[in-house]
């Protein structure tokens, strides 16, 4: 088990699947679908194997020795430039308690999204090729520990996503696709700049004692590796760390999406096909917050400390703005999209607290939001496939017509509201406990509780409009769930209920990492303040 490159397999299995699909004839639609399903299924199995072999006591975050399933070798090795040392880029994969839940989430969501893609009817081959390429990009982001590699995977997702929305989307797909593309590319140029800046600010000591610039995230995190004159080095009195932090934060915030960079999300969600909405909400949005936790927090701990109030503020704005906007929507899918913005606000609020409770809550909320929103988008997809409309006012009384469906909807809605006993409750409670526990974020946390109320309001109101009341005659013949739809919804429901009743396995999974992150940020504060004193 120790030598099996499980993370590479997880990441590049979809590429293998892509090549197989590429050589399958266009007409063999079923075998294309089955290939994709097998590949994503294998990926799910591998991620469960990963989970079973995971060492719960290893912290990770900044300590290269406690990362697990590490794969590391030189990818690019260019000797020679005498004045800038050597260019070296590592192929460096590894997981800790921060990335494992998200690897698991990605595997689950991709598998379910494959099932949900079963009714794609045009250019099936192209669809699944793009789908699998996207899968590689997502998995790669969560396991990469070299900034360069991270960035490659990050950008790899853009083009497939553009085509998936643009070709298989709804009426305004072209607009939505290009808007998504331009926004995220705009964000990633900032990430690129900071990446290059960090590269010239930190040096890794090789075995033979020579020092080289590095993209290795863990090396950059160690304050002892900074060069005296690097533009992002704290040792340089004229450093640009604050500006770089904000730039990097914007780059990630566009993906979350954080107010005011959120406007691409409703468009992308409304136009994207169901499966892609599921992936977008379930996995892609998590990349923004993951990036902040993985890159910004440990590399810029002192700035994170001083700006945590602002992060909490934006979290609060996201929570309340998202909820208010959701309340005003008439389109079912747009409502869910705005509710996503609101729920991602909890993640921001939780991580701004910088304590164990808050960060655990944030990571758990990332996982839970992934499963719950995936459910919600599947639910919208189910009704849209049947009624071909998503207008909330067009429905009514569906509870009688589709009882099983209504059951799932109710669970998903209640989980999204944060009803005790369902997973959303645990993470939101932890987020608020964390926020109350920290002096900087307490007031903002208290205001944010308003979001729960608003959340309950729009969710229950929607439930009432669509499922209660008198049945609209037009929908008298709508059939209830099919076997495939059960197959997609039941596992997600099980996860939502299980983590609501017994969240311990998930919390244990991330506990060591969250603790080491909190400790690292607080200890780093001592180091950075000592720099300012002279």
């Amino acid at each position: 088990m120790n030598n099996f490159p499980i993370l590479s397999f997880l990441t590049f299995l979809p590429i293998l699947g892509m090549i197989i699909v590429l050589f399958l004839p266009k007409k063999q639609e079923l075998s294309i679908k089955v290939t994709t399903l097998v590949i994503t299924g294998l990926q799910l199995v591998l991620s469960i194997v990963l989970l079973m072999n995971f060492n719960y006591s290893a912290g990770g975050i900044n300590d290269p020795n406690s990362f697990q399933f590490i794969e590391k070798f030189r990818w690019i090795d260019i000797p020679g430039f005498s004045w800038i040392g050597n260019i070296k880029i590592d192929y460096f994969l590894g997981v800790d308690g921060l990335s494992t839940p998200l690897v698991l989430l990605t595997a689950i969501i991709t598998f379910i999204a494959t099932l949900s893609s079963w009714n794609i009817d045009k250019s099936i081959k192209g669809y699944f090729i793009m789908f699998l390429l996207l899968d590689t990009g997502m998995m790669g982001v969560f396991v990469a520990l070299d900034f360069f590699l991270f960035y490659i995977f990050w950008e790899l997702m853009l083009l497939p996503m553009y085509f998936l929305i643009g070709i298989w989307g709804g009426p305004r797909k072209e607009y939505a696709a290009i808007k998504f593309f331009l926004y995220t590319l705009f964000g990633s140029i900032f990430i690129l700049l900071v990446m290059i800046g960090l590269y010239f600010s930190s040096m890794e000591t090789l075995v033979d004692g020579t020092k080289v610039f590095t993209f290795n995230l863990l090396t950059i995190m160690d304050p002892n590796n900074y060069t005296p004159y690097g533009i992002l080095s704290p040792l340089n009195p004229n450093n640009l760390r604050l500006i770089a932090y904000i730039a990097l934060f914007i780059g990630f915030a566009i993906k979350i999406p954080m107010f005011p960079f959120h406007t691409w999300l409703p468009d992308a969600h409304v136009e994207a096909p169901t499966a892609i909405s599921v992936i977008l909400a379930g996995v892609l949005l998590k990349m923004g917050t993951y990036g902040i936790l993985r890159v910004s927090y440990p590399i810029f701990p002192e700035i994170t400390m001083s700006l945590s109030w602002f992060i909490a503020l934006f979290g609060m704005i996201n929570i309340i703005y998202g909820a208010l906007a959701a309340m005003a929507q008439k389109d079912f899918k747009k409502l869910i999209a705005y509710s996503s913005i609101s729920h991602m606000g909890y993640v921001l609020l939780g991580m701004s607290a910088l304590n164990t409770m808050g960060i655990s809550g944030a990571i758990l909320q990332m996982f839970n939001h992934g499963t719950i929103t995936a459910m919600l988008f599947l639910i919208v997809g189910v009704i849209y496939d049947r009624a071909h409309t998503r207008d909330l006012d067009a429905f009514g009384g569906l509870g009688v017509q589709m009882p099983a469906y209504t059951g799932f909807v109710t669970i998903a809605f209640f989980a999204a509201i944060g009803l005790p006993g369902l997973s959303g409750f645990i993470s939101e409670a932890l987020v608020f406990l964390g926020a109350f526990g920290s002096g900087t974020t307490r007031i903002l946390g208290i205001i944010s509780t308003l979001g729960i109320l608003l959340g309950a309001a729009y969710m229950l109101w929607t439930l009432q409009r669509v499922f209660l009341g008198k049945l609209n005659e037009k929908w008298k013949s709508l059939p209830d769930l099919t076997a495939r739809e059960y197959f997609m919804l039941v596992p997600l429901t099980a996860i939502v209920i299980f983590l609501g009743v017994y969240p311990t396995p998930m919390l244990d999974l991330m506990n060591a990492s969250v603790n080491s992150m909190v400790k690292f940020i607080n200890n780093a504060q001592v180091f950075y303040s000592s720099l300012n004193s002279f």
Partner: protein, 502 residues
Amino acid sequence: MITLILSNLSVNIQAIYPEIILSLTLVALVIFDLIFNKQKKFLPLISIIGLFFAFIFVIPEFGTSRSAFPTSENNSLLSIDSFSAFFKGLIIIASVFVVLFSMSSNEIKSCPDRQGEYYSLMFGMIIGMFFLVSANDLILIYLSIELLSLSSYVLAGFVKTSIRNSEASLKYIIYGSTSSGIMLFGISILYGITGSTNLFEINSVLGFSNVPQITFLISILMIFTGIGFKISIVPFHFWTPDIYEGAPLPITAFLSVASKAAGFAVLIRFIEITFAESLSKSGFWQLIPYVNWQNLLVLFSIITMTFGNFAALWQDNLKRLLAYSSIAHAGYLMLGVAVLSDQGLTAVLIYFSIYLFMNLGAFFIVMLIANKINSENIDDYRGLGYSIPFLSTSLAIFLVSLTGLPPTAGFIGKLYIFFALVDAKMIVVAIIALLNTVVALYYYIRVLKVMFLERTDKHVEIEISPLNFVIILALLAPTLIFGVYFTPLVNIAKNSIQLLGF
């Protein structure tokens, strides 16, 4: 003036073997065309053989550093060094591809009786470029530019029956002769000030005596105009869109890659040799502060890339769009020069090698499609992604690479430019260049949008001959492979930045 010292003629002749082979090929093409008037299909073969042998003689030039045709004890007309060898290599690769393109171009095939003319003129261009990249005397630079230009004027209007071709050719002559006239004037002023046309001699004059500032600056700007015309930077770019749109496609591709490469080579040599103050160990060039090259080049490159990108947004003709995009790329390349460091120079060489493949690829596919549908209008590309998936996907990859998205090679080219910029602490410039990438995405992706996102009932069938298939793969492979494994490319580039005398 120039007095050649011909004591060691045989040694000097050896130094220009590649050029001699190219000239012999030119002669062979003309003679073959005269004698075997009906055997047109052998002409490309002869061209490729000639290029192949020239390449064999270019390879040993890597790693050497010597001068040929001395005009005085220390100075000479030609520098044979790794830098020129690198560009000669690029020019040969581009030429081979363009010869192959010409074999399947309908435009070229429409003039069957003038094929010999076509290939021999192309060799005229190649010889001009070869001398240009290694010249270190202003007279030779001027003569090579003229040889290059005169051949390309004719080639731009090669299809005499096409009004578009003739118009392009005429415009090209007018713009080209004006700018080379200005350049010649600049050279004469510079000669008047310094008493020499040799770059090394001018350098030593600048180092030891004062020259009149204003006059000197004017002469430099005039010479810069001539070179700027060749690499089509704003404001010397006006010819580019018209000529690129009007000329036969293989020639457009050739102009956009090879002739631009030669222009950049001469610009770099001109700046680095004429203005070098001292041997620099730090990697940053120490230049004589008569001209603030950094600000000048940064200004021109930012204007160039911004103008090129924004103008491309409104283009409906794909050839014109690629013309503006090539203007924008000239801007990025110039940023690499503007850093004025070895790091920046390496970035330029890397960028150019990648640009060669992706730009030629894009033009080739546009040509194959235009052969069939007789149009380069973006609107006529509607739904092509479904009727000709291979060609459309390849074009998509080339365009994505031109945008600079990973994991394509175009990203690596841009990445090295940004490395150089951040290394030199030119952060603001880097941000402007990066924002330009976002603008560029919009028009490149528009082509992809039309091909893949829009659908049509019209069905286009294009048969790809095995040869063309191989050509496309040969262009695709580097575009994709250098995106994930670029070690060899960077190694070659960084070993090639050695100029004679440094």
